[in-house]
Symmetry: D4
């Protein structure tokens, strides 16, 4: 009955097109959703701190300056999100994704994890705090459509079959 | 003196037209109220989880998937409501309505219960935390008109007499 | 530098024109202020509960129904106010004004008290938690102009002299 | 590694011996647990308010006085519990148990539900917010032993088989 | 089942023996209650600020220094209380008692008001936020005995009759 | 992906043009930023309290009245900021800037300090809680551009070289 | 000057003896520290849920039951810790350790990470929210000795050299 | 009436004997007070980070490591204090003292400032948030005696005269 917009933060892996698939799915469904995310250009996210605040001889502090600059973006956006999607890809450790999930859990913001089955056991605590575990970005879009409008999915069976 | 909109969440029973009566009453009175609610189509609310995230052999987990998906909608809307109306109908147990009332009490959001007198004793703790106990949806509308505009009711006596 | 609107709740005495004087002062100064207040028609504020939810034989419960209905308005508006003005008039006890001041203090919302000097000693704890003590509504308007725009008062000396 | 005591609140049904079974199980296992609960003598819990603060002609207010007196006990104990057990018995509506579960969920305190399978569907939202669903009080004791000491259950299989 | 101690803050009127009656009642009943209170010697409570931090020419600041020193005691004790008793006597305005009630309401701490019927209407908002309204200190003791031990009152009828 | 506006509070030194440099930098970059600040006219910030609420014989209370009036502006704006910039200039003690930084740290709002290297050691605790330490206002602008849009700096090297 | 005990939660890797080294270091130094941790027997932590609440055909729900049971222990202990140590070992993904770090960050509890340099880049966001990054458990003990007693390390240089 | 102990954190200047004077005053008066403080040995507080976690080539990061290690001590102790005393000495900038005051203000913990009159104007915002401004440590002891026991000062006049 309401026309509220939903604010969804997309945390985690930056090497595949999952954010684009959610974004185009949301657009296609006409959902009133604002998507936010960390900076997803890998080198910028690494080097932003030194580029702005000056070079560091030591890689450890080079990273620190970047991480704390990124945190001003990410924690602000996470704190105001209604919902997080937390993506774990196939290769990388993505500890920051798990960090964001823990952050969300502590402040009572629900999150959906998005990862292949191969990570199920390693992610059991992170999944245990989630409100849903998705395998495909299209499932996230379908969940948003249901959460926001109560719309039940139509063509999703095919998507699931195609996994 | 203010033009703020009021956000009212309608929790509980989904088998009678009480939400529609509040909605049409609010519209008729021209109140600046946004009404929100859980998904009220019973089967969708039961099956949404498996429809989106995949079937479950066990009914317990079928229900769990649905409940946790629904919770992303309901808890977000409850957290941002100014006020809840919590409806207990004549037949069903509606434990989730009582759950929502407890949730609202804990975060300091006021609520009005709406139920027939037959439940008064069984609901005494839930009513004890409420700011009002209504018998008819029209009383809720009258309460909103007073809360928002300070308008005193006019034709309500008849409504009450008709109970 | 900002264009934010300020939300100011006017708590307390309902027998003089202090709210109107603040409202016209705010309007004259063109301040971006939304004023909110309890229902200020005394009988309505007393009888609203029974008028909507049914008569009570016992005056105690008649009052209770009204008080809890009023609280849904007042506590919602107080919680979202940036600032409270808490007025104690010359005659009545206005315990509810002191209650609102304590409520504001507990949630970290600043308040200005507004009362004649004769109450200074009796109100010392309430004033002790206030950010300012005003004698005239025009001082509240001048304070808002300063808080919002940094404007220093011009004709206030006369107002103070006229007390 | 720690010697902390755990505070567990036992909410809900008062017509069977489930609290005693948890208490004797906890004692037998030597667990450092303080169990708290509402007043479980049904008539006292109904009549306490009027017995202390004076009789009421109207049953509705008779109940209200009792409920609000009970709430001073229950909400204080719930707020300081580490963990709740929320029991739904076979017959009664126990809306107050669901209310307590919602209260716990909102303040981030974990809870275990305890109920027969027949209620699984009706309780799916309440179970969806729980960290575990138990069928027998002995499972609650086993869970406490694991949570506190990391002890794995030994003779539980028999208990489960005996259900 | 627990041996917890209960922390009860006694706010308000300092001109009658109500605190002593609660204290002796609690002692007689052997209740595990720690009673706290503001400084109840009127002159000390007025003059403490200037006695310690230096004299003030202006009575307003003399009062302010005392009020803010007292607040370090009272707000610390109120914040850690499980329960408040808020007493309004027959003569004085006791705005600070109403302030404490509002403070308690805002932080979710339950309170019992204690006052003669003559104040019922003027205190309706303060009573509306209370979990009980008592007329005699002995009723407060009986309420504590029930809240803590589940003990129902025995000789209270006489007390009530004697009012 | 979002169009949110960012709210940035500029705390501290009022004797140089650093706020203007941030403001013009933000405007030049077209960033969706609302800048807020304390009243920066030194005499007004000192005298506002007595100008509005009446003169004080004692300079201590003259200052107190001003400080508490200013606090209604500053703490409201700080509480709603996404981010603070806290500036320490070369000469003054600016304890209020450090106070604002501590306030921000306690409520979990990130801040950037802005000060010359000469203060590095004295400010090590304040810097230790910051997400970045800037030397020039242009670095703050570059940080905002990165935080909001992910834009990497272009001409900043020159700015840094020019220090 | 105080005799408080410090509560330290040891999160993360369960395949090396780092917890024992901290524990023996703390004991040797006579520090008033209570160490807490998750259940560190790998199989028990995996199987506890089904062992107590009944077997699951599906590994996904087997894991879920265990994870949610473990969470009742871990989140309770994390919430009451003064400080966390979060350990990332050489081999495993330890997403739950990162989750705990995010949880701690969100509730304002400081944490020390403990990991080899090889993870520095991948952990930069997690380290960015930490108050210290340690390489050896003995450094954690030395940090605790300093935090609690202000004791500066003596023989640590050798430890560091021996890495 | 209670035997609670009071927890008082002593923040700020480390170059004079004010902490010792408070400590001996508290001991002489037999007050149930636990005093806490930062590490007050200047060099240790500067060098603790690098001594434990390894040397830094850059003084900025040397300081950062120390500051963040110190913060684990100070913020834990501040968060659990009932009351802070914040001391500004005659010479140094003590921005960290002002930071602690702001931190306390934000979490609602009262504080007393302790400084000579020469700083009154520069500290007006910090004093504006304080519950008292003391000139001598003995006044702090007298305030604690009053806050805790309601004891009025006896020989303080001489102390004040001797300033």
């Amino acid at each position: 009955m309401s026309e509220r917009r939903w604010n969804v933060y997309l945390s985690g892996e930056i090497h595949s097109d999952w954010r684009e698939r959610i974004q185009s799915g949301v657009a296609a469904a006409g959902l009133p959703v604002d998507l936010t995310a960390p900076v997803t250009i890998h080198e910028d996210s690494d080097d932003c701190g030194v580029a702005i605040f000056g070079a560091e001889a030591d890689k450890f502090w080079h990273d620190r300056k970047g991480a704390q600059l990124n945190a001003m973006r990410t924690q602000t956006l996470i704190r105001e999100a209604d919902l997080l999607v937390v993506r774990f890809g196939e290769k990388y450790k993505q500890w920051n994704a798990a960090f964001d999930a823990g952050f969300a859990a502590a402040i009572g913001t629900p999150y959906i994890t998005l990862h292949p089955e191969q990570h199920d056991h390693a992610l059991k605590e992170v999944d245990g705090g989630a409100n849903a575990v998705a395998r495909q970005p299209e499932q996230v879009v379908a969940a948003l459509a249901y959460i926001i409008n109560g719309s039940m999915p139509t063509g999703l069976a095919q998507v699931q079959a195609a996994e």
